[in-house]
């Protein structure tokens, strides 16, 4: 599936409410939610927190976000075998990942990168983009 482009303005339009929602899920102050902080390394988020955030964002924005499929979405049109091999993201996969997670600073993409470590890259902006994409998909389907 082709990636739906998301602009900075669109991200900022959802950011305040999304940040509040994420802070509530993580049990932290909204001031701790910075757009580019790593949710795992900076805010101690774990997989259940991601599930919680997606669930809360769905309800807050009345959209449907595919749970647990962020990594799958990051792959885009790239077949799985080309995206990763033996649990490690390929060069081609890394290019795709950098594009999908364009909000993440380039130096945070380590090589080799394990697929299991991809969630360490996620930031609040990553989740805002999920919301915007879900809104656009809903609008397109309407």
């Amino acid at each position: 599936m082709a990636e739906i482009p998301v602009t900075q303005d669109e991200i900022m339009a959802v950011y305040p409410k999304a940040a509040e929602t994420m802070a509530d899920a993580l049990g932290c102050d909204v001031e701790d939610i910075k757009p580019d902080v790593s949710l795992i390394e900076g805010l101690d988020a774990e997989s259940i927190d991601f599930l919680d955030m997606v669930f809360r964002l769905e309800r807050a924005f009345k959209v449907k976000i595919p749970r647990g499929k962020i990594v799958e979405n990051a792959r885009g049109d790239l077949p799985e075998a080309e995206f990763e091999q033996g649990g490690v993201v390929t060069e081609k996969g890394l290019v795709q990942l950098r594009e999908y997670l364009s909000e993440v600073a380039p130096e945070r993409f380590k090589t080799p990168m394990k697929v299991a470590d991809i969630p360490r890259l996620f930031t609040p902006t990553t989740f805002c983009k999920l919301v915007v994409r879900a809104q656009k998909e809903a609008a397109a389907a309407a």
Partner: protein, 287 residues
């Protein structure tokens, strides 16, 4: 302990499912055995969660089961006593191979006991925890004639050792999860997991003791104060047999008619569970 231990007995709280709308909702019953000493609010929440788990497992053909959980809000409305029968109900908000989201409630004779709002359970491969065929057969039994009541033999009190105590303010304690306990044979047969609801029950007792000490609420000399609400209940990872947990309960006094208890559990300095409790801050009775 009652001899009724083991699978579908030692920690199973649905006797019969009386209405079942595939993937959508269910209603069931659970008769609290008269022989147990008590049946805590946390166990009532467990009963509701188990009914939701049956709907969720069935919805995805027993590929996964919810393990660990989070509950956005739990309202404690009244207490229950051994010998009473819980009427359980769940509404599934969403369910797929990744997670189940649901609301649920329990009542006794029409009196609301508990309400669970926006609960979420990650679905994990069922075969890691239990035998899928045994679960299928059990669901058929529950939806048919129902299981024989009285299987639960109670849970032995868990030992908590206080490590640091500021009366009315803060309590730190250790909880050594037993190496062996009847509930592990049911929760779960293939992989024992310390039930989150037993942890919450223990934490609620610690918080209740702190609230009594705090003196902002007048509870007299009767039973320990009970929370009216739990929010942000979240299990971050499994807790297994023999693990040592560092528990912390701290009170906050936001001044909005409640006393708030912030709860956490850590193992090896890693946060494994968090929750917040609210207790009503009752005004002092006139002397």
């Amino acid at each position: 302990m009652s001899p009724a231990n083991g699978h579908f007995a030692a920690y199973s709280f649905v006797d019969r499912i009386v209405a079942f709308d595939v993937g959508t909702s269910a209603r069931g019953t659970y008769a609290i055995p008269a022989h147990v000493e008590a049946f805590s609010a946390a166990l009532v929440a467990e009963a509701v969660g188990q009914l939701a788990a049956w709907v969720a497992m069935d919805a995805i053909d027993f590929r996964g089961r919810p393990v660990a959980a989070l509950a956005t809000e739990t309202r404690f409305l009244s207490s229950v006593a051994p010998g009473q029968t819980l009427d359980l109900a769940v509404d599934i908000l969403a369910c797929d191979d990744e997670a189940v989201a649901y609301n649920g409630r329990a009542s006794v004779d029409g009196v609301p006991v508990i309400e669970l709002v926006d609960c979420l359970g990650p679905m994990l491969p069922v075969a890691e925890f239990d035998a899928p065929d045994a679960l299928r057969a059990r669901l058929a039994l529950l939806r048919g004639e129902g299981a024989a009541p009285g299987r639960f033999g109670g849970v032995d009190a868990l030992r908590v050792d206080v490590a640091h105590h500021v009366p009315g303010t803060l309590l730190r304690a250790t909880l050594d999860v037993p190496a062996d306990a009847p509930f592990f044979s049911d929760h779960f047969p293939r992989r024992p997991v310390f039930p989150a609801t037993l942890l919450l029950d223990t934490q609620m007792r610690l918080a209740s003791a702190l609230v009594r000490e705090a003196g902002v609420a007048v509870y007299g000399t009767g039973p320990a104060p009970s929370p009216s609400r739990a929010t942000h209940v979240k299990m971050r990872s499994f807790i297994g047999p023999s693990q040592r947990l560092a528990l912390e309960a701290g009170l906050a006094f936001p001044g909005d008619g409640v006393v708030r208890a912030m709860l956490s559990a850590k193992t090896d300095d890693r946060l494994v569970a968090t929750a917040r409790l609210e207790f009503p801050a009752r005004p002092a009775a006139p002397r």
